[in-house]
Symmetry: C2
Subunit: 235 residues, 2 copies
Amino acid sequence: MGWRGDKLDGMTEATDPAGAPAKTWKGLTADQRRDRRRAQLLDAGFEILGTLGAAELGVRSVCRRAGLTERYFYESFDSRESLLEAVVDQVSTAGFARMGEARHRANAARADPVKPMIRAYLDYFSEDPRRGRIQFVEAGIAFPLGHHRKPGHPRAVALFTDLLAADSDEEKGDAADLTLNAYALAGSQAELIMRWLDGQLRVPKERIVRHMLGVFRAVQDVTSRAERVPKEPLD
Amino acid sequence: MGWRGDKLDGMTEATDPAGAPAKTWKGLTADQRRDRRRAQLLDAGFEILGTLGAAELGVRSVCRRAGLTERYFYESFDSRESLLEAVVDQVSTAGFARMGEARHRANAARADPVKPMIRAYLDYFSEDPRRGRIQFVEAGIAFPLGHHRKPGHPRAVALFTDLLAADSDEEKGDAADLTLNAYALAGSQAELIMRWLDGQLRVPKERIVRHMLGVFRAVQDVTSRAERVPKEPLD
DNA sequence: GAGACCTGACAACGATTGATGTCAATAGTC
DNA sequence: GACTATTGACATCAATCGTTGTCAGGTCTC
């Protein structure tokens, strides 16, 4: 638990496409049991990755914590690394989903979505500090910089780019400014969240939200577009 | 190599405190040889940590790359983790030393030190991308959040705090604003450096410097100090 | 109850790990 | 040349790793 809604699918009588009742085992179909085991493994991986780190996330340790045997590990995951990526992806996806919900709520209420989104993101990580470690520390290991799949920060950057583009001054900055500001914001927000969770910033949560909003507004207008003057006057 | 000046101590005739000439071996005293081996191990650790990651940094792999045997590993380092921390510390220390030099040069020339410092820091990482991976990715593993020794970002934060305090508006923000802004800046600069090194920001280096300076100036004035109004008017 | 399916416990595999110890060959001093 | 300090190659230790396989015992359907 910790990153998803902990409820199984609501159907009590499962049927296969042909209409015949599916075989059950202790009240669960084969698919339900498999999904449950996969969820158990993901939970165990989440716990280990979020508290001990990637180095401690092994097949045996995960299975022991999940209450399953090694055979069922390879039923749901190809390898140790496959589980690692799945855990990181779950945490990241759930976090951005929370921001998306906040955005839709704000839009429905015709309110500015930025602050609610920031608050939702911070809430998500403050509810469970393991999420922060996974998202901001371990994700860099699971998905190194040159990696083909990158579910973490790029999602944040895309989201910030989107928000910045919503009310950007077309006359002042160019497209590169938008991207640069999105990365700068993603980095600063991540740093503030992590350090606040770690207790190094001894201020109330609401102040973090206000400050992150302030940083957002401040960075929003930053531009480094080339000047008209041929040579920059001074260092 | 990669993070230090690759020259041995210049003395050719070593003498011990009593004045007697120290015994040499291939022209080097015992201390010089030991220091050389330690440097070889650090270089090898730097290479492995900066390209493969902490998971691949083992005693055997480091020794093989350093051209030494395992016995000499434990001559200079207590454990595998000890080397890991030493490598991270070297990269971090050298980077901040470069910023310090830039600051002193600017101060001596009565110029604003911020932009030269930013450029020096970016130069340091762009000269060797392995430094960036070590500083911004692997350091999080070597020194987890609750760790007692934290040579990485806190140094950046202290430095940003120092710069921000130099010309901060006492009337507008309070001490917490200073700290919050320092962390926000550390995070944004790290993110911009990493993404630019990774090729995701396709702009000239000088524009990154300009943009980082812009972010610095913009964040400098951010404040989240409690307002006088009892209730915040709107989200 | 018979037979089929599913489960958990555990053995086994080769490989690798961190760390320590042994030992012959080499480079130096006298 | 004799003797010592130093070196590098390698053996060794228990432990752990990812992964696959075996097998007795439980749980279902008929």
